[in-house]
Amino acid sequence: MSRASAGEIARIGVLVRIPPALRSYTAGEDEVVLDASDLAGMLKALDSSFPGIRDRVVDESGRRRPYVNLFLNEDLVMTPLPTVALKPGDVVHILPSVAGG
């Protein structure tokens, strides 16, 4: 799989950046391009391509796991995932919080 260009992302959909801890699900790929209109739908689409990966980001009640952050472009997502709309060209980052002390 080749890396998507900015033009391709804008045309095809949303680019999701995969953290190292979850690349076992994506056969090592660090980014995936998906068609989704909101963050909850993005996770479902991601899971249909890479089964099990959604469970690592949200629990079975759909709540984001503590210390797992989603950034839409450069903004930390603080609202419920289904309310966060996506458009072609967006970039979603899945990142663990630093959780340091």
Binding site: D55, E60, S61
Partner: protein, 367 residues
């Protein structure tokens, strides 16, 4: 050979706050270590499946803490991998599994069955070695659930006993809810807490709400049980009924693990600590106490154990027996030492130091 671990070796699987280790020995005198496995992860429980002597199961977060709980499976000596799915509550329950505390292999005639005990307290069964899971609804959505309260370690289901003679006969323990028993493979459950104190509640002998710390079958084979509780040590006779407190003769009523002799009726081992507010051994002397008569009397062993001035403790899953003759025992401390006895707990030898805090110790035989 099985990986780097020889067949017919005794294997002691040690789960720590920073990974798992497999200690192995052909003679229980000279020990070697493999690992760390799942390095950096908090391994709440790890063990060798006694049904094949080759499969290792572990309970740990996926990769690292933020990514949620996982069950791992692997061939002995190799890095275990997450199973295809983790235990999950049914949709709409508004519950979510935050941690897997315990993995228990099923009976010998159900070689692919394993059980998982999780936080918040629930029991799950897999019939394909952990790839898919059944939510045991009669327990997990018990009518009393909305009133369940966590113990100090959380609302965790930590003890799972599968009757080796009758695989449908299950006993589980939840902190701080108590013991439950099923004789129909989990379709229905009875609370089994009569005679067990809950000194922290207004009614010290409630139907449920006891803080069970660990359960173990008595080797009698008739359904008798041992229990270490937050408040007391107990024995229950065959076929249910009330528990009998057997704390008398021990230095305190507080401790975490309890391990029973796999073949000798009425024989068990405990590691009493000062109490809930000071979870270290009495007088700075680590000690393992043994009964051979279902708790009527206890005998203390300290030979080879640290002290005086050893202010450490043992966590819930921190003690295990092997199945050798004479019996071997293994105790891991929350300060990272692993002790072994090859004479039924009479004398001890430290076989590892400077491990991360030890959360679980189980033993088995490599085949």
């Amino acid at each position: 050979m099985v990986g780097t671990i020889k067949k017919d070796s005794v294997v002691v699987a040690v789960g720590t706050k920073k990974g798992g280790f497999l200690f192995h020995s052909a003679d229980r005198r000279k020990w070697s270590v493999a690992g760390p496995f799942l390095a950096g992860a908090g391994v709440y429980h790890m063990g060798l499946d006694p049904r094949d002597g080759r499969t290792v199961y572990a309970a740990a977060p996926h990769g690292a803490e933020p990514w949620g709980p996982a069950v791992y499976r692997g061939r002995i000596g190799s890095e275990p991998k997450p199973t295809s799915s983790s235990p999950k509550f049914k949709e709409g329950s508004d519950l979510a599994v935050s941690r897997v505390w315990h993995i228990e292999p099923g009976s010998s005639n159900e070689p692919d069955t394993i059980y998982a005990g999780v936080e918040p307290a629930a029991l799950f069964r897999s019939e394909d070695r952990g790839d898919t899971w059944e939510d045991i609804g009669a327990l997990n959505y018990h009518p009393t659930r909305k009133e369940w309260q966590p113990g100090g370690g959380g609302l965790c289901l930590h003890s799972i006993l599968v009757d080796p003679r009758k695989p449908k006969h299950l006993v589980i323990g939840i902190s701080a809810v108590g013991a439950f028993e099923s004789r129909d493979a989990g379709r229905s459950w009875t609370m089994e807490n009569r005679g067990v104190r809950a000194g922290f509640l207004p009614n010290p002998y409630p139907e449920w709400g006891q803080c069970v710390h660990k359960l173990a079958w008595d080797a009698s084979g008739d359904g008798s049980l041992f229990q270490q509780n937050h408040t007391g040590t107990y024995h229950r006779g065959p076929d249910g009924g009330a528990w009998t407190e057997i704390t008398k003769g021990l230095p305190s009523d507080f401790g975490f693990p309890i391990a029973a002799h796999p073949d000798r009726k009425g024989t068990a081992f405990v590691t009493p600590l000062i109490g809930a507010m000071n979870r270290v051994f009495h007088k700075g002397q680590m000690a393992v106490w043994k009964t051979g008569n279902a708790g009527k009397t206890w005998r203390k062993a300290t030979k080879g154990l640290p002290g005086p001035n050893a202010y450490l403790g043992v966590l819930r899953e921190g003690m295990s027996t092997d199945a050798e003759d004479p019996l071997g025992l293994y105790v891991g401390t929350n300060t990272g030492q692993l002790f072994a006895s090859r004479d039924e707990g009479e004398s001890w030898r430290m076989i590892a130091d400077f491990l991360p805090p030890i959360m679980s110790v189980t033993s088995g035989m490599a085949r």
